[in-house]
């Protein structure tokens, strides 16, 4: 599966950047508006309303979508695109609390939010004790269930110091029946620290054959799969639980090609079902075997 040429091309195009940037925020209190300021329980359902009379409670929830680099250092190994989940956890008065999950990073933010006409303007600052912390500034339009904005890193020397986003309000629920789509078959696997210059792998339609969250896999199911496919099948288990991948290779697949995937957590180990645990063990075994022995002199 070493397709160095392909990989070099991929690199050259730099379709995918590399470099983890993570948002953050700190509490800040801009002038309060007249909107109702209540502790809103996590209402993740979208609320279709006839007469648009929104309160801050309607803002609570996950906003998910592309987190795109807008200011970056081309000389560095940056990631152009990640899938981000900006969660508005609570709004009390005009003070805002939330967190964001992206690229295996779960960071809290605090700040303020106020109504401006039909929309809400918010600012959330990350604590600043992580090198990838920064400040989110955004506009939420409750009638469209959309959040748009920018994130600016505190440290402007980062590979990516500014990112933009246009996110959709979505709810997350673990659903073992979610399947990978044909799109994944187009994905390339890119390895960050390749052994040989660049090592690219391609995902095949084999990844669609099994759902390791619902069916107990047998050795016969797995033994004839490519390593890259096994890896994607195994990680689809984590993706269903909303695991935010630190692993760049898996991020490229799930962030980009899996519509239902929402990063919500950086540790989901205690949520795995029995079937999933068994499948992970089996898949991992064959994955490691393929990694070590597939292309060497031996069996």
């Amino acid at each position: 599966m070493i397709r160095s040429l392909f990989c070099m091309l991929l690199l050259a195009f730099a379709v995918f950047g590399c470099g983890e940037s993570v948002p953050g925020s700190k509490p800040e209190t801009p002038p309060a508006d007249t909107t109702s300021n209540t502790v809103s329980p996590p209402a993740e359902e979208e609320t279709p309303v006839q007469k648009p009379e929104y309160t801050t409670a309607d803002l609570i929830g996950y906003y998910v979508g592309e987190f795109k680099a807008t200011k970056y250092d081309e000389s560095k190994n940056y990631v152009y695109y990640n899938k981000i989940n900006i969660s508005i956890d609570s709004i009390i008065g005009d003070s805002l609390m939330g967190h964001s999950v992206v690229a295996g990073n779960d960071r809290p933010f605090q700040g303020s939010i106020r109504k401006q006409g039909e929309v809400y303007q918010g600012e959330g600052r990350e604590p600043g004790d992580d090198r990838y912390d920064g400040v989110f500034r955004f506009t939420v339009d409750p009638s469209l269930s959309k959040m748009t904005g920018q994130w600016v890193a505190y440290n402007n020397k980062l590979p990516v110091s500014e990112r933009g986003y246009e996110l959709e309000k979505r709810s997350f629920r673990y659903d073992p029946n979610l399947r990978l789509s044909m799109d994944v078959g187009w994905a390339e696997l890119y390895e960050r620290n390749p052994k040989i210059m660049d090592q690219g792998e391609f995902v095949t339609e084999d990844v669609l054959k099994f759902n390791p969250s619902t069916e107990l896999l047998k050795k016969e199911d797995v033994e004839n799969l490519y390593k890259g496919d096994i890896e994607v099948i195994r990680n689809s288990i984590y993706a269903r639980h909303g695991y935010s991948f630190k692993n760049r290779k898996m991020r490229f697949v799930f962030d980009k090609y899996v519509e239902w995937y929402i990063p919500v957590s950086t540790d989901i180990r205690d949520q795995l079902t029995d079937v999933e645990r068994k499948n992970i063990a089996l898949l991992k075994r064959y994955e490691e075997h393929a990694e070590r022995y597939y292309d060497v002199f031996g069996r």
Partner: protein
């Protein structure tokens, strides 16, 4: 009077082949080395976990790994005319080591492992047949040597060793096929399960035929 047979020898070829053979033997030693100390959760055995709990599989595997590596040195000694003529006892002793290991240890244990081979009935059949033929050819070769039929002895030994070499050729084919076509892992396995030894046997037959046709087989007085 015992007869000795002089086979066509090609010093140039052996100059080339022997280092290559040595290299592959070294690679085989490294593969064996993975199982020292004995560990059932390493290398090939990592994907044989459902069988490793069975005592007969475990013993067969252990026996096969540790005994079959001793078959390879025969390739350095048994085909040399000079060595056989000058030190016939070395030839005989090495021959016994090879024969006993292949007939009683590595062969039968190979059959047991082959019975549970990866890749379904096709590769299971390939490996079991390989084991049976290896034992059979080894027996015939010894029998013919005992009877003094050294030409026949030599023919059967060529066939036997061709099968022994499948340890190397199977893995070499696998490497080559993966490097070129990158097929799925078990597809490769099913291919090399047959390719690994059938081709060797054909080459051995071709060599045997060639001596006959060219009359390069000469018997010399001892």
């Amino acid at each position: 009077m015992s007869r000795r047979i002089r086979f066509s020898s090609y010093p140039q070829t052996s100059m080339l082949l022997l280092p290559l053979y040595a290299l592959f033997c070294w690679l085989m030693v490294q593969i064996t080395w993975q199982y020292i100390p004995w560990n059932t959760d390493v290398a090939f055995l990592r994907i044989k976990q459902e069988y490793i709990s069975m005592a007969h599989y475990r013993w067969a595997f252990l026996l096969h790994v540790y005994s079959s590596i001793l078959v390879l040195p025969a390739g350095f000694t048994q085909f040399s005319d000079r060595l056989r003529l000058r030190w016939p006892s070395v030839h005989r002793q090495m021959g016994w080591v090879y024969a006993i290991i292949s007939i009683f240890l590595a062969g039968p244990s190979g059959f047991v492992i082959g019975w549970y081979a990866n890749g379904g009935w096709s590769s299971q059949l390939a490996f079991c047949l390989l084991a049976v033929l290896w034992i059979l050819f080894g027996c015939l070769a010894i029998l013919r040597a005992k009877q003094g039929a050294y030409e026949a002895h030599k023919r059967w030994m060529y066939r036997s060793f061709a099968l022994a070499l499948s340890a190397i050729t199977l893995r070499a084919w696998k490497y080559l096929i993966v490097a070129i076509w990158e097929p799925r892992p078990m597809d490769v396995y099913q291919i090399v399960a047959w390719l690994g030894w059938v081709l060797n046997l054909l080459i051995a037959e071709w060599l045997i035929l060639r001596w006959k046709n060219k009359n390069t087989l000469k018997t010399l007085p001892s």
